[in-house]
Symmetry: C2
Subunit: 64 residues, 2 copies
Amino acid sequence: MKNRKMKMARVEADVSQEKLASIVGVTRQTINLIEAGNYNPSLKLCTAICKALNKTLNDLFWEE
Amino acid sequence: MKNRKMKMARVEADVSQEKLASIVGVTRQTINLIEAGNYNPSLKLCTAICKALNKTLNDLFWEE
DNA sequence: ACAATATGTAAGATATAATTGACATATTTA
DNA sequence: TAAATATGTCAATTATATCTTACATATTGT
């Protein structure tokens, strides 16, 4: 399933996929894939994304 | 750095590394490595561990 | 309308998470 | 004390996250 929470947080922070990618040190495609879902990123990457967007793991990656 | 929070949650739930491993579908060594630190598990695995121990991502894997 | 920027996907290569098997040391329990 | 059970760690292999390159479609601004 798509990760809408992450996309919303990114758009709210007004950063492009490419900008976020460069901040956290991955490629644009990786960010795109995470938002598109059917992907299983590493904890380190999830944490870096959260910090870049001023969110926590539960905010962006916890379901239910 | 070691993941003390996860180890404490596991011990509190009274499950061995091996038991937890079988619940979440990985090997004992993988659980051991995560608790020992210097490891970067996948989001899916982190989530499975949290649910097995009745914790959230922030409880076990969020720093600061 | 055009140009620039942003997004969605794909195939093949590389890095690394996770496995398997194995052995040693603790820790618990009879 | 002895026997289980649990933990720590290693080397070699396999599975998969991430990279690279590339192309297409949206979207935004001039």
